[in-house]
C-alpha cells in the first residue's frame, strides 16, 4: 500500500518535470555525505537491487559484505560491516551517498565509489588489465538506475 503510493507519487513527479533527466556522475549533489535526490527521478526496484548486491558481475557487494538477508548466496566477504539493518541505521539519502561514493562518509575507506567516472590512477578497461581507451567514455561501476535499485533494496534491510 505504502509502496504503491510512493510509486504513484514518483510517477507524478516524473511527469511533472517532463522526463527528469538522469543525474550524471559529475552532477551528483552531495550534502555532506548524503545525496537526497534520486538519480533517476524515480524510486528503485528492491528485487533488482538484491540481484545487483549479490551478483559478482554487477555490484558484487557480497564479496566484501555478508548478510543474513542473502544467506542463500554463497561466499560472503568479511571486509565491510554486515548489511543487515543498514536500512534502519541509515536514511535513504545517506545510503544513496554511501553507494555513490562511500569516500565522502568514510575517509580512505576500501569501499569503491560506484557512481564516479574520474580521478582514477591507471584506469583499466574493466578487468582486462589493459589501459582504458582514451576515446571511450568512462562508465560508472553501476548505472543511475542500478544505484536506485540498490538503495531501494538496502532500505528493506531494516533488521
Amino acid at each position: 500500500m505504502k509502496r504503491t503510493m510512493i510509486a504513484l507519487f514518483a510517477t507524478t513527479l516524473c511527469f511533472g518535470t517532463a522526463q527528469a533527466a538522469e543525474v550524471s556522475p559529475g552532477d551528483v549533489e552531495f550534502d555532506g555525505y548524503e545525496v537526497a535526490a534520486s538519480l533517476t527521478g524515480a524510486p528503485g526496484d528492491p528485487e533488482a537491487g538484491r540481484n545487483i548486491v549479490t551478483n559478482k558481475s554487477l555490484g558484487n557487494c557480497v564479496s566484501c559484505h555478508a548478510a543474513e538477508a542473502y544467506a542463500d548466496v554463497p561466499f560472503h566477504g568479511e571486509i565491510g560491516p554486515w548489511l543487515d539493518g543498514a536500512g534502519g541505521r541509515w536514511s535513504e539519502a545517506e545510503l544513496r551517498g554511501l553507494v555513490v561514493n562511500a569516500k565522502m562518509a568514510f575517509d580512505g575507506t576500501m569501499m569503491p565509489a560506484f557512481y564516479k567516472t574520474d580521478g582514477f590512477v591507471r584506469l583499466g578497461d574493466a578487468y582486462t588489465g589493459n589501459a582504458h581507451p582514451e576515446d571511450k567514455p568512462v562508465e560508472p561501476l553501476l548505472t543511475a538506475q542500478q544505484i536506485e535499485d540498490v538503495v531501494a533494496y538496502l532500505m528493506t534491510l531494516t533488521e
Binding site: 557480497v62 564479496s63 561466499f75 566477504g77 590512477v121 584506469l123 583499466g124 578487468y127 588489465g129
Partner: protein
C-alpha cells in the same frame, strides 16, 4: 608417511600455540622432516608498526594445501624443479656452456635467492633473479634470454629457490637499493584502477579476512614461485602482481617492467625474516 604427516601437523599446532606471544619465531613445519621453516616472525623494522608480525602465505591456506608443501614427494611444484635441474647442466647457446659449467651444483647456489632482488654493481641497477639468469644466458652462454615469467624461467627460479628453503629472506633496502625500494613502496600504497585499491588495502589492512571466497594473506613473496592448483602450473611473482593489479580494474604493469622490479624489491623486503619456501603450493 601417515605418521610423518600427523607429526607435521602436531608440530605446526604446537608451534602456533607457542607463537601467541607476539613476534616470536614460529616453525610451521619441518620440510621433508628435516628443514625447519619459519612461517611467522617479528616484522622487519622498516614496516614501522604497519604490521607487527609477518606470516607466510602458507599459514593462510587450508590443511590439505599446506600438507602438499611439507614434503617434496607431495609438492607438484617439484616436478618443474626436476626439469630445471636437467636444464641446469645442459649446454645451450653459442658458447656451449651450461649453468653448471660456471656455478657447479645447483645446491651451491644456496643463499642466493634470499637476497634477491638486489642492486647489482656491474649493471648499475636493481635486478631480480630472472634478470640475472638472463644476463648469464645472453652474455656468458650466448643463448636467447627467457621471456619474463616464461615457464622455463620460473622453473629455474624455483630450482634456485628450492636449494635455499629454510634460509631467511634477507633483501637489502639501503645504499644503492634505497631509491628503487622507495619507488616500490610508493607503488605498494598507491590506490589503482576504478576500484581504487592498493596492495595495502588487501594485504595489510585486511589479511585474514575473506574477500569473496578468498582468504587474504599478507601477500609475501617468500613462497615464490608458487604452484597454483587453480592453473596447475608454477607462477612467478610478477604474474601474481599483474593479476592483483588487474583485479582493481587498473591498467597493469608488465612482468619484468621497472615498476614490478621495484615493487618486488619492496614486497620481498616485507618478508625479511620468513624462510624461503618456494616452490610452495596455493589454491
Amino acid at each position: 608417511m601417515k605418521t610423518k604427516l600427523l607429526q607435521g601437523i602436531a608440530a605446526a599446532t604446537l608451534a602456533l600455540t607457542a607463537g601467541t606471544a607476539q613476534a616470536e619465531e614460529v616453525i610451521g613445519y619441518d620440510l621433508n622432516g628435516e628443514i625447519p621453516v619459519v612461517v611467522e616472525t617479528a616484522a622487519p623494522d622498516h614496516l614501522d608498526g604497519a604490521l607487527n608480525t609477518i606470516r607466510s602465505g602458507w599459514t593462510f591456506r587450508d590443511e590439505s594445501t599446506k600438507t602438499m608443501q611439507m614434503d617434496d614427494f607431495d609438492n607438484p611444484g617439484m616436478l618443474a624443479v626436476e626439469e630445471a635441474e636437467a636444464a641446469w647442466s645442459t649446454a645451450e647457446g653459442s658458447e656451449g656452456k651450461s649453468c653448471a659449467d660456471c656455478h657447479g651444483a645447483a645446491e651451491d647456489m644456496a643463499g642466493v635467492k634470499p637476497v634477491y632482488p638486489k642492486y647489482v654493481e656491474a649493471a648499475g641497477e636493481v635486478r631480480t633473479l630472472q634478470m640475472q639468469m638472463n644476463d648469464c644466458r645472453e652474455n656468458r652462454m650466448g643463448a636467447d634470454p627467457w621471456k619474463y615469467d616464461a615457464s622455463a624461467a620460473v622453473a629455474m627460479e624455483a630450482l634456485l629457490s628450492s636449494v635455499s628453503r629454510g634460509l631467511p629472506m634477507n633483501v637489502a633496502i639501503d645504499g644503492d637499493a634505497a631509491e628503487t625500494w622507495e619507488e616500490g613502496k610508493e607503488l605498494y600504497y598507491t590506490r589503482t584502477g576504478q576500484l581504487q585499491l592498493s596492495c595495502a588495502n588487501c594485504h595489510e589492512d585486511n589479511y585474514d579476512n575473506l574477500i569473496r571466497a578468498d582468504h587474504l594473506s599478507q601477500g609475501h613473496t617468500n613462497g615464490f614461485p608458487v604452484y597454483r592448483l587453480k592453473n596447475t602450473k608454477l607462477n612467478g611473482v610478477h604474474s601474481r602482481f599483474k593479476g592483483c593489479v588487474r583485479d582493481t580494474r587498473a591498467h597493469t604493469y608488465s612482468p619484468g617492467s621497472p615498476e614490478f622490479v621495484a615493487l618486488e624489491l619492496y614486497v620481498a623486503s616485507r618478508s625479511n625474516g620468513l624462510s624461503v619456501e618456494g616452490p610452495s603450493v596455493r589454491n
